[in-house]
């Protein structure tokens, strides 16, 4: 909305590519710095230096530090949500849908571990309309996941009642806390990690292996 004056002269594709490339480059550097030291301690000077750009030059791409964080979070959550929608297409079994959701989430953030931290840890670092805009995507992501959880719970034998909201938040807890301890490339592949999280969420510690299906990979 603020980036690139919306007045559209159909600039040469060379320029635009160069502009977008540079923007992506700066955002990637910013994501790394924020993941390492946190949003508040990440200074614009530090990001500029990491990106190989002057301090003042940063303000050609964002009008503020907060806007920079917004772009990082907006892009990450948007990508996460849209790839999830794609992957759910054509899958009917809610259990298989849930496994797909976990696979998608883990795969995305295993490939972008810095983005995971810049999103999970800095959820409250935005304010005002920037915060609300990101929050809306997160809400959509939550609603989609919760609908899967509800379908799973609906086909379950009537036992102790399970709160839908709580169950969904337990799942997000496991996924969002990953940035604290998971190191891609050590011990577990993203696919294996996703499988174990799904198993854990669906069957728990005591769950009988009989109820489990499709979990090699």
């Amino acid at each position: 909305m603020f980036d690139r004056g919306t007045g559209g002269q159909g600039a040469s594709s060379d320029n635009r590519e160069s502009y977008d490339d540079r923007l992506n480059h700066i955002l990637a550097a910013a994501t790394d710095v924020i993941a390492r030291v946190g949003y508040e301690k990440a200074s614009m000077r530090q990001v500029a230096s990491a990106a190989g750009v002057s301090l003042a030059g940063m303000y050609h791409y964002f009008d503020s530090k907060e806007r920079m964080l917004f772009l990082i979070q907006f892009r990450a959550f948007s990508a996460l949500l849209s790839t999830l929608k794609e992957k759910l297409h054509g899958v009917d079994d809610p259990v298989e849908q849930l496994r797909g959701m976990v696979r998608n989430h883990v795969a995305y953030f295993a490939a972008n571990i810095a983005a995971l931290k810049a999103c999970s840890h800095e959820l409250d670092s935005l304010s005002g309309s920037a915060y609300e805009e990101v929050r809306q995507i997160r809400r959509d992501y939550y609603a989609l996941t919760r609908s899967i959880v509800e379908r799973i719970l609906a086909q379950r034998p009537n036992g102790v009642a399970i709160d839908h909201h709580l169950a969904t938040m337990c799942l997000f807890s496991m996924l969002n806390w990953l940035y604290r301890w998971y190191q891609p490339g050590r011990r577990r592949s993203p696919a294996a990690l996703a499988n174990q999280i799904s198993d854990q969420f669906l069957n728990g510690l005591l769950g009988s292996p009989a109820t489990r299906n499709g979990s090699t990979g």
Copy 2:
């Protein structure tokens, strides 16, 4: 170690009480402010004002802002670990031990929701020996919890292998992420929340109610 110069003239008990009370009062105010705005954004001026103390007066109780956060985290994790050890005493069934652990954790932080955030969200805000000292307590807490998880997994039918570390981290994820969404006094009592988290962790979404025991409260 830094608080109260160790050179001991046997000060009157009146003085000492007053000193400790004031220290606790300031730490409580600091915990609230940090929980609300985050450690980096929480200025010493803001904490001083919230505690009703002058800015310079703060430095009679800590020699730095970091030391202040250290005291908050050290006290919280120490209390958590020691109460856990107490409550596990005399309990043999590992499943019941785990339920006790979750109850203890949820109860403590439901009563100190600001402390939960100041601990969970600011795990990396300390550095050097202060960080290491807190980390050691967290390690002990983790080791104790993991030993319970291992005993549960040991008496489980041999099915799909479950990684002990991953399983333990899933539990801590659910507990540590609570500060993001749980509001004490709304909808769920701490005891009911603890029960549902235990159920979720032990039996998962698909777990048969038959394997569940002792979960009314």
